[in-house]
Symmetry: C2
Subunit: 222 residues, 2 copies
């Protein structure tokens, strides 16, 4: 059978690193797409490149400029709010249209490079409430892609319904180099431990009964 | 009633210039988005800015880099094929994922600037056979936007089912400054008269019984 080709959206965080290893484990031919969108910090890009290197997979960095901002995650001016995982309001860290833009670029890449799937680490269980992380969004996106690519490209969301605990356990099983992953919204030397993303990650590791190797590494200055 | 705010995707061609004037005529508060994606020529951007100026509407130029190319319209190396309007194959001028990327950016803009509609001049009657110009594509995109923006943003495609002749007549009625519009895929001083886009435009003007003022202007070197 022909080897399926997939584009993996890689941010260098826990979830996207896990889906890269998931895709490799499934025998897909993988290519990583890393998006630079004027994030608050460049740590995310560096970590993503490192993860792709660890996995021995090629990557392309895609430069995106959003002239209109609209999120505390873009640039350095906005304040990242402390985590409120249970909040029902869309948090200020939501980047307008971000996943829609990422997936559109991935569609373009897949059409140009004749690839079959876009794999994204979206998660709708332990998540920050972003509209573009929900199952209904991906269901509709797949219907759109069917039209846009004439049935050639579709999205896979292997983590969509997993808890952070399950993702941590899956990452361990797949031997994801967790010490190199970076989830914090802030661009400090160490994870802040206070933002939504840090809180969700900590919860996952705690419930999985594991120590987070990224914390050990960073806090020990290794 | 609150004035509706719309983002108009403006390329400086006949269709997109017409929808800008259509939106103004309907009383919408309009903002133009002009995309620079390493087209073969910069005439398109200049013409689009000129049209926005003629209409007295603000515009934002969005810079998009597609590192993977994949179309004879991108860069200067590929050859633009002569027009074959009736062909059933997707032509080489198709830019992978282009409209999907444009609309994703427009979604981001509309969310950030609290706008209601994205207006695009897509046309599925006298068109080049691109998959992202068909009604089924826009129907699905609107369903996706409903999820992505939680019902706040949607697309309008006022030209989708109009013939080029009808578009030319509408443009005349709306007083679109047709002499400034540019449809040719090539980046020469004058429209090439041979590419798909030139042929479709010429057909529209011929059937509408009108001379194309852009040709008169350009060929006379005015």
């Amino acid at each position: 059978m022909k080897k399926r080709k997939v584009a993996v959206l890689l941010s260098g965080g826990l979830d996207s690193s896990t889906i890269l290893y998931w895709a490799i484990k499934r025998g897909y031919e993988t290519h990583c797409l890393i998006f630079s969108y004027n994030q608050r910090h460049s740590a995310e890009i560096r970590k993503a490149v490192k993860i792709a290197e660890c996995a021995g997979r090629p990557c392309t960095i895609v430069d995106i400029k959003l002239p209109w901002g609209g999120s505390s995650l873009i640039g350095r001016s906005g304040r990242i709010p402390p985590g409120k995982v249970s909040s029902k309001k869309i948090p200020s860290t939501y980047v307008p249209g971000r996943n829609t833009i990422f997936i559109s670029y991935a569609l373009s890449f897949c059409e140009a490079a004749k690839m079959d799937y876009i794999v994204i680490g979206a998660n709708a269980v332990d998540f920050s409430g972003y509209p573009d992380c929900r199952p209904a969004y991906y269901k509709e996106f797949n219907k759109l892609l069917k039209q846009a690519s004439l049935g050639k490209v579709s999205i896979k969301t292997p983590l969509l319904k997993k808890s952070k605990k399950e993702i941590v356990l899956l990452a361990r099983r797949l031997k994801v180099p967790l010490r190199h992953t970076w989830s914090c919204y802030e661009g400090g030397r160490y994870p802040c431990g206070k933002c939504d993303s840090c809180l969700l990650r900590a919860k996952g590791f705690r419930q999985a009964g594991m120590e987070d190797p990224a914390l050990r590494r960073n806090w020990a200055g290794q």
